[in-house]
């Protein structure tokens, strides 16, 4: 526990600085933090999860948003290849009449990272430990009389230390040699056109380009995608909505197998509300693929998903509800089920029960008791237990946390 507190100081300081910064701007701030004891790992593990969300209206139509998320543990948790992870983002969004533009910066920090073979196709014998990832992004969208135009650009730079292995004849072992930190960049950009043929029907075309932007990067990381599609949205009655999309996507890149060069995506979704209490939806997603000659069409994945939500009338805050859902993969014949309920026990006190079943291998149980001081401000005690037949069992969490809106 003390080791975790000592080692997380850099990320913690950053979170505190961000909090003071947005507080000084008098932004709308939501802060959440929880401390958990994790069992089922190699040794007893302690975990802190914190999150900061802040929004600030600088001038009319211009919003500044700051998000910071921190996951810090004294040991690696499950399959995550680092002990600490921080995701910070800052964005400016401008909206006016027909235009919507946003520019942002995102930063990912990896604490005590494992060495991974990040690029096995390019440098198969070299490991990399992720240190920091910087991402600058820009998006713009315009709507003009049924014609919608949007474009985006993302520049992602991963700072990492490559580790090369040299054979030592004397000891008959591979000796790791840590190389100087390098930057490995990817650039993503694209444009989309969409036209509303009818109020309920639109057609769209888009192109997405991707280039690996680091020295010696082979063409296998280059990817160009062209998409044509149609989207339909109907509202038979005011409380229901039916939507569907069909897209044909052509992928061109050395790393893409021939058989998956053409992807056909189909989605259907039906939403229904009954008053203010009940709502639900059912959706179907199907992906199929084919080579450029379109000789045969192969199934990639398909699934049916259904969610239902009911809010209890007795709670004037509408915070008491029961929710259930099921996801069925038709191709893999696997089902995932979830159910969650939150009830107002006494004034300001809520109890939450949750259950999730994934296939026939994992049963997950969640229990939470929270005291609500006011809207979006609470403290809670939470327990998350997994019962699994897998050889690598999921972990169990027990902890306390708080959420504050300022």
């Amino acid at each position: 526990m003390w080791e975790m507190c000592e080692s997380m100081s850099k990320q913690c300081y950053l979170l505190v600085i961000l909090l003071l910064g947005v507080w000084g701007l008098k932004a709308e701030v939501q802060l959440q933090s929880g401390f958990y004891s994790v069992s089922g790992n190699e040794k007893q593990t302690y975990l802190n999860q914190s999150r900061l969300d802040a929004n600030f209206s600088l001038i009319p139509n211009l919003t500044l948003s700051v998000i910071s998320k921190l996951d810090a543990a004294d040991r690696k948790v499950q399959e995550f290849p680092q002990k600490k992870w921080m995701n910070n983002s800052i964005g400016l969004q401008y909206r006016k009449e027909h235009w919507d533009a946003e520019v942002g910066y995102r930063n990912l920090l990896f604490g005590n990272p494992d060495r991974l073979q990040l690029y096995p196709e390019w440098r198969p014998g070299t490991d990399f430990d992720r240190q920091t990832q910087h991402q600058a992004q820009l998006g713009i969208k315009g709507n003009f009389a049924g014609l919608s135009v949007s474009a985006y650009g993302i520049n992602k730079q991963l700072r990492s230390n490559p580790v090369e292995y040299v054979y030592d004849f004397g000891t008959d072992t591979m000796i790791p040699t840590v190389m100087p930190e390098q930057s490995f960049g990817d650039v993503y950009y694209g444009v989309e056109l969409s036209y509303a043929v009818k109020p309920f029907l639109s057609i769209n075309a888009s192109t997405d380009m991707k280039q690996a932007n680091f020295t010696g990067a082979p063409d296998i990381y280059k990817l160009n995608t062209f998409t044509l599609g149609t989207q339909m949205e109907l509202q038979p009655i005011s409380s229901s909505r039916f939507s569907g999309t069909f897209n044909w996507r052509n992928c061109d890149g050395r790393g893409i197998p021939d058989i998956t060069r053409n992807i056909f995506e189909t989605t259907l979704r039906y939403q229904q509300s009954l008053g203010l209490q009940f709502s639900g939806f059912i959706s179907l997603i199907n992906d199929s693929c084919s080579d450029d000659k379109l000789n045969e069409v192969y199934l990639l994945s398909n699934q049916v998903r259904c969610h239902l939500l009911y809010h209890f009338e007795y709670d004037p805050a509408q915070a008491s509800y029961i929710s259930a859902g099921v996801k069925h993969s038709l191709k893999e014949e696997a089902i995932a089920i979830f159910g969650e309920g939150q009830w107002k026990l006494v004034d300001h006190v809520y109890g939450t029960l949750g259950y999730r079943r994934i296939g026939t291998t994992i049963n997950n149980y969640q229990v939470k008791v929270s005291y609500n001081f006011r809207s979006f401000t609470e403290c809670y005690l939470q327990c998350n237990i997994n019962d699994s037949t897998l050889s690598t069992k999921p972990l169990n969490y027990l902890g306390i946390g708080t959420s504050i809106r300022m």
Binding site: P81, L223, N286
Partner: protein
């Protein structure tokens, strides 16, 4: 009006054909896997990015996770950690 209904019918037919493709030859070799993220279910938590061993997932401008197919090795680790089962 009749043209609108015809257009809707053709669109629905195209959509349904996507599901009718199941009867085609089905293979489950490793090269046939293509993982995608359902953005209507993705909450932008980033767990998939944390666990990915190949730097193959990134956030788009809307803070939704996107899989870079040029780098994805189909290891399936992202599918296991997604709390919303948004990866299929």
């Amino acid at each position: 009006m009749k043209a609108s209904y015809l257009l809707v019918f053709i669109t629905l037919l195209l959509m349904v054909l996507g599901f009718a493709c199941k009867q085609a030859t089905l293979t489950t070799g490793a090269t046939m896997l293509v993982y995608e993220i359902d953005h209507s279910s993705c909450n932008g938590c980033g767990e998939c990015i944390r666990v990915c061993p190949n730097d193959a997932i990134y956030f788009n401008v809307q803070s939704k996770a996107v899989i870079d197919q040029s780098k994805c090795t189909k290891c399936g680790k992202c599918v296991k950690v997604c709390p919303n089962s948004a990866i299929y």
